[in-house]
Amino acid sequence: MGHETVTRQVTVRSSNGLHARPADLFARQAGKFESKIVVVKEGVRVDGKSILDVLTLAATQGTLLTLEATGPDAEAALEALARLIEIDLANEEMIDH
């Protein structure tokens, strides 16, 4: 309570999209923050801390996602998660499976 929700839009860059490994990395990173994390794709809202939920987005390359964070560390959470999606996961070499 009392925390505003902050949002940020990110685009999935990697040609393989958010498959199992990136979804795992994303959910783990999200889980490090106290804030509630929601990922939105075309109006569908899922829990960003759940790998199963993130996988249901089937986010392919070019997909626009909205990240929402609500809580005391919301800004830091969005910063870290946006960097993960737009920079770290865009590096195919790291996660190409």
Binding site: G17, D24, H97
Partner: protein, 158 residues
Amino acid sequence: MKFADFVSEGAIRADLSATDKPSVIRELTAALAAAGAIGADDMEGIVKAIMKREELGSTGIGRGVAVPHTKHPSVDRLVGTVGVSAEGLDFNSLDGEKVQLFFLLISPPDRPGDHLRALENISRQLRDDTFCRFLKQSKTPEDIWQLLAEADNNQFVS
């Protein structure tokens, strides 16, 4: 993407005998080879590739489910199978739980979208407790095939 679009009916196993990660991957890959979904000559290479992927991080995604997978140039479309272990086995899952349900996927290297859509379908259905429970209780490949067909007809999630 529906289960019927990628699950090879003849490769479904309701009574997995494997008790560890390498042997369950081998058992399910052999089932795909026996069903003709992959070439027998490609089996060893596919098993190795799937094990290599597991080294990056377990595909045991929680809730007693694992999705071991790889890309392999020998397949020209996404193929997969489903296996159930009554006892469950240690798969180094992300949540530390034993795994009872296996969805093994092999996709052509140039079709990442299909792989994602299969993962989407599997994870969406698995969020439903009833589907998970029924699948774990399946005793025959026919039971599993029937459940997958019901899931394809949206009988578990809307």
